[in-house]
């Protein structure tokens, strides 16, 4: 089943991919599977998702892990470790 997701990118992830957000039609059932789909698209995605240990992910505005399920999720965001404060 295909779901429509809003996918957001921040900081250098945004810069490498070249856009801040896009809508993605996907059959992925986990974040990790979504990442595989994106990596396969183009070199810039492969570059952004090269090292998952350098990335963080949030689903529906809540931090989660790469093995998190996507069922019911409407928004996924990828970004580097946060540097607030």
């Amino acid at each position: 089943m295909t779901a429509k997701l809003d996918v957001l990118y921040f900081a250098w992830v945004r810069e490498r991919i070249g856009l801040p957000r896009e809508t993605v039609n996907t059959t992925a059932t986990t974040v990790a599977a979504l990442v595989e789909e994106l990596r396969a698209r183009e070199e810039r995605y492969a570059a952004a998702f090269g090292d998952l240990s350098a990335l963080r992910v949030a689903t529906d505005q809540t931090l989660t892990d790469f093995d998190a399920p996507l069922s019911g999720v409407r928004e996924v965001a990828f970004f580097p470790p946060m540097t607030g404060g």
Binding site: L8, F10, A11, W12, A58, Q61, T62, L63, E75, A77, F79, P80, P81, M82, T83, G84, G85
Partner: protein
């Protein structure tokens, strides 16, 4: 609980006075404010954030602090946008009947804001722009709570 995410500068002293004035019965108020440093010829700091998530993430961190310590109130203000050296980036304030609770909660808030609030800093200096890398020590700091 007073959580603000804003681009505008703010008057740290006025915020502290307002916070203190409404903390009736609390004996101890602790604040932290973080300021842009001009080290290495830095001319500006750009702070990006995740608008849909930031307010909730800060509120959750403040609620976690409220659940762990006996606090009267918690305040967090965090700016985004372009800041120059000397400008205040953010501020936290806590109040409690006892000083240890106010101090511990403020340190907890800072540790979590560093690594769990969706902000990303980019430094503009003589060699161009560079994203600030998260420090292992900031991640390690969470393990003490």
């Amino acid at each position: 609980m007073d959580i603000r995410v804003q681009e505008a500068a703010f008057d740290v002293g006025a915020v502290l006075n307002d916070f203190t004035a409404r903390t009736s019965g609390m004996g101890a108020v602790v604040t932290f404010n973080g300021i842009v440093r001009g080290d290495g010829g830095l001319t500006a700091m750009e702070i990006e954030h995740y608008p849909g998530m930031t307010q909730n993430a800060l509120s959750q961190i403040a609620e976690d602090a409220g659940a762990r310590w006996a606090l009267g109130d918690v305040l967090v203000i965090h700016r985004f946008g372009t800041l120059t050296p000397g400008e205040t980036i953010m501020m936290v304030a806590t109040c409690a009947p006892h000083r240890t609770d106010a101090f511990q909660a403020a340190e907890f808030l800072m540790d979590y804001l560093k690594s769990r609030a969706p902000f990303w800093k980019r430094e503009i200096g003589p060699d161009g722009a560079a994203w600030v890398a998260a420090k292992d020590s900031d991640e390690d700091a969470l393990s003490r709570w």
